[in-house]
Amino acid sequence: MTCIRVFTATLLVGIGVAHSSPQTLYQQHCAACHGADRLGGTGPALLPENLERLKRPEALRVIREGRVATQMHGFSQVLSAAESESLAAWIYTPVAPRPVWGEREIRDSRIVHHAPGSLPAKPAFAADPLNLFVVVEAGDHHVTILDGDRLEPIARFASRYALHGGPKFTPDGRYVFFASRDGWISKYDLWNLKTVAEVRAGINTRNAAVSSDGKFVAVANYFPHTLALFDQDLELLKVLEVTDAQQTKTSRVSAVYDAAPRRSFVAALKDVKELWEISYDPKAEDIPAGAIHDFRYREGAFVPGFLNPRRTPLEDYLDDFFFTQDYHELIGASRDGGKGQVIHLDVRRRIATLELPGMPHLGSGITWSRDGRTVMATPNLREGVLSVIDVKDWKTVRQVKTLGPGFFLRSHEKSRYAFLDAMMSREHRDTLQVLDKQSLEIVATLKPAPGKTLAHVEFDRYGRYALASLWESEGALVVYDASTLREVKRLPMRRPVGKYNVFNKISRSEGTSH
């Protein structure tokens, strides 16, 4: 019996080698950079969750030809076509058993490049540290730091692979936190132009939020289904397992945001009809868990309010939303479209429903004052329309017809204009439209490079310049004079997917999302 078994085993190994199974090929050619467990290393994680946005033929092309400006070289000389194909198919299959990324893994992943307090507490350059732009270049996974007065880069460095969600700043504007799709959170010192600490908060991450006091960082994960909370030095504080109140179902976290006036993080959940608010105020009121027999004698179950979720039960999923400027309310779009729900964060229920045609991109909504009233406007991912809504009575003021579905809408307190793109449309993705915020008329169109996607505007701190992205691998930032709408400068960049002005972000300018 024993002999036969040994023989069989040898035979199996023999077959494996002959046919070069994807597992074997992976360990031989890929594991060094992408990790033996496919969780990533110097290269990105190769898991179905993390590859959601990469089409399979594209994955095969990358295996064959490599990726320019990265360490990923082509394997067409090494692997047969069949082998490449089997590898490409295999990386879209789940890893079994499911990888674990808990408290221990997170703590073990932490890297401190510069200990807190070891770098000088003043800027190492002459530029205004509050008028810097952080530009995320997705083309080659780099970040450029731009002087917002001289419009010149002062630093450029390699980021973690595929930054996801906007970078978030500490209130003094000194530090910025980046989240990568593979879960890496990097803390960068803008005054010293150095990455000071990093931690891997998850395996597949959506975004991070930094508390208004700069002391807490929250990370929204898709995989595992957790929300991770860190202190300002990226030391793990706790991992919240994300489930519904009855613990019958876990959920991915779509996004987490800072709600500064509330001293809390607000998290949107993908798979559970709840909204979470997590206070970072150590004096936060206890959360009554379920029925309370007697508040006066504290007969009932209470959970400390600090760093624990307070749940708002929802009638519909809510994974994209917009906060009112005072953060008492938020507007979310229902997933089927057509309707928006206004949720009051104190009473924790829906207080109004509003008409929102198509699929509004509420995360990109902005507000301004018009005729003494505050209006909110949101671009639309599916239709060529911009919805302008009065936030007092939640009535639609106007549906402004645009060139096509867009993604971003940006303005500034000092500017009479708002800029919207049509990047979701085929014909007009190369054009920005300029809206007059008072008349609600389109007053100009900008098309600096026909055929090339133009999107994502950010103003400098004074509202003088509006910087738009030519969203191409050999792209650029196009700088406009915000009042004359004339191009003043063009800075070459590799697919600059986002740019973020320090001052506008830390002052929570009404013209930009946060």
Binding site: Q246, A291, Y297, G300, A301, T312, H328, D346, V347, I351
Partner: protein, 578 residues
């Protein structure tokens, strides 16, 4: 500080005229405000009949200004709509406390949003439902930032005014007029619908749904088992005659504005003669005629606390039990920490023995001999033991955090002899206290054993003389897996960990919080009934477990079972079997 005593007779007369109308029309179940479910009105907004001019009020300087007329209006609304949950003194109950220190920090806008829209915690949407006008919401938001006005007293006159003798004794059946096995009948509190369900324990059929006060706290039986007394949190007492063809109300009364306890005389010669109710507000108790609820004697509980011996203006009455050893009621007073042994043999010359125990007395029950009464002082984490033979405090026993015994559970520990058990709101333990000073002196009034349960949030433990099981719910535990299951120990082998029963799973109900609350035995002691307590608009159930096999025996699912909580088996309640 400004004071508006409201004693001017002209003002008082006007207020009375204005106030009397809505309070009355509402009690007659007339839909005062369109669109509000009746049960909402009954439960959430149980009206407290206070005429605005009657309450003492104090305006607070830092609070937004109010005119006396607005203050009057606010008071009326508060006592009609809000006091039921937030307490007549606004110190909080099932609703949050609303004292000026808290409300001023929140401000008018914040308060208005809550009053307008309500909250998922249970606060109704008074504004958007149209029940309160925008002006009223604004008045309420300001009112809540002022000192709470002192609610009025509730004396014999007010009680008599609320008293209704629906069927006088001479018109009631002379003998049992139904075929029910009354000893195995269950009175089940339907918390949020303001009703009790009478369920036949043999057939598991609902015999009748009887209208009562809201959020019925307990049911008690007369000594004979004929009369059922039910008291709501709004201090309304209903007397139900179980001899009627279809058992129903025969009398009702309001004993005050807020209450928790009712009991009946049980001593030989006084069977079925008296009933007693204790109130949270006013701080007092009333002794009534047993078969009519006619109020006879009201006694205040205001007085000095134990320990510091400071005056307390509102010591609330918690549990009351009837002594089997003397013609006495054992009245537990929360804030003073005193146990009053009230001798009902001579109401005209009332004698009371006052036993100093510990502060914040709550609930409790008898030991197996019914000589000793054990009551939790839940804020001081103690159980007080009263010897009702000598009328002396026998012991103060340290327990876990916030003991909540219900009536406790008596059984024989194989090692320590007779014990009484309590669980805790504040921790996962169930402690067993030795109760036999005669034969097990070394264990008497000591925690002899600590069982580790599933978690905190326990409301009730239960066993039965014929059972070898001890059950503990964890109804208020924040973890749904724990709140939806119960722990059961084999009392012959207490070293063995508890078995966990998946009651919710057995109920078949898929949605909602589905908290499992209060085990209750049938008369025979071979079945245990559990409430699957869900939200008011969701389906609830009663799950019946076979006590021998710990297997599911029956599930009662009926749309009339709205928020069932406490269940009271007639025989076990009548005879203090627990």
């Amino acid at each position: 500080m400004n004071r508006f005593p409201g004693k001017s007779s002209a003002l008082l007369a006007i207020s009375l005229a204005l106030a009397a109308l809505p309070a009355h029309s509402q009690q007659k179940d007339k839909p005062v405000h369109p669109g509000t479910p009746k049960e909402d009105l009954m439960y959430r907004g149980a009206p407290v009949p206070i005429k605005p001019g009657e309450a003492q009020e104090t305006l607070r300087p830092k609070a937004p200004p109010m005119s006396p007329a607005e203050f009057d209006r606010a008071k009326q609304i508060y006592f009609e709509r809000c006091a039921g949950c937030h307490g007549v003194l606004r110190k909080g109950a099932t609703g949050k406390p609303l004292t000026p220190d808290l409300t001023q920090a929140r401000g008018s806008d914040y308060l208005k949003v809550f009053i307008n829209y309500g909250s998922p915690g249970g606060m109704p949407n008074w504004g958007t439902s149209g029940e309160l006008s925008e002006a009223d919401v604004d008045i309420m938001a300001r009112f809540l930032q002022h000192e709470p006005p002192t609610p009025p007293e509730f004396g014999l006159k007010e009680m008599k005014a609320s008293w209704k003798l629906i069927v006088p004794p001479e018109k009631r059946p002379k003998k049992k007029a139904n075929k029910l096995n009354l000893e195995n009948l269950f009175s089940v509190t339907l918390r949020d619908s303001g009703e009790v369900a009478l369920i036949d324990g043999d057939t598991k059929q609902i015999v009748n749904i009887v209208k009562t006060g809201y959020a019925v706290h307990i049911s008690r039986l007369s000594n004979s088992g004929r009369y059922l007394y039910v008291i709501g949190r709004d201090a309304k007492i209903n007397l139900i005659d179980l001899w009627m063809e279809k058992p129903d109300n025969v009398a009702e009364i309001k004993a005050g504005l807020e209450a928790r306890s009712v009991e009946t005389s049980k001593y030989k010669g006084y069977e079925d003669k008296y009933a007693i109710a204790g109130t949270y507000w006013p701080p007092q108790f009333v002794i009534m005629k047993g078969d009519t609820l006619e109020p006879l004697k009201i006694q205040a509980t205001r007085g000095m606390t134990v320990g510091e011996q400071e005056y307390h203006p509102e010591p609330r009455v918690a549990a009351i039990v009837a002594s089997h050893n003397r013609p006495e009621f054992v009245v537990n007073v929360k804030e003073t920490g005193k146990i009053l042994m009230v001798d009902y043999s001579d109401l005209a010359n009332l004698k009371t023995t006052e036993i100093a125990a510990a502060r914040f007395l709550h609930d409790g029950g008898w030991d197996s001999t019914k000589r000793y009464f054990l009551v939790a002082a839940n804020q001081s984490n103690k159980v007080a033991v009263v010897d009702t033979k000598t009328n002396k405090l026998a012991a103060l026993v340290e327990t876990g955090k916030i003991p909540h015994p219900g009536r406790g559970a008596n059984f024989k520990d194989p090692k320590y002899g007779p014990v009484w058990a309590t669980g805790h709101l504040g921790d996962e333990t169930v402690v067993l206290i030795g109760t036999d000073p005669e034969k097990n002196r070394q264990h008497a009034w000591k925690v002899v054993r600590t069982l580790k349960g599933q978690g905190g949030g326990n409301l009730f433990v239960k066993t039965h003389p014929k059972s070898s099981h001890l059950y503990a719910d964890t109804a208020l535990n924040p973890d749904p897996k724990i709140a939806q299951t119960v722990a059961v120990w084999d009392i012959r082998n207490l070293d063995k960990p508890a078995t966990i029963l998946p009651i919710v799973e057995w109920s078949g109900i898929k949605e909602g919080a589905r908290r499992i609350v209060q085990p209750e035995y049938n008369k025979a002691g071979d079945e245990v009934w559990f409430s699957v307590w869900n939200g008011k608009t969701q389906e609830s159930a009663i799950v019946i477990v076979d006590d021998r096999t710990l297997k599911l025996k029956h599930v009662i699912r009926d749309k009339r079972l709205v928020t069932p909580t406490g269940k009271f088996n007639v025989y076990n309640t009548q005879h203090d079997v627990y």
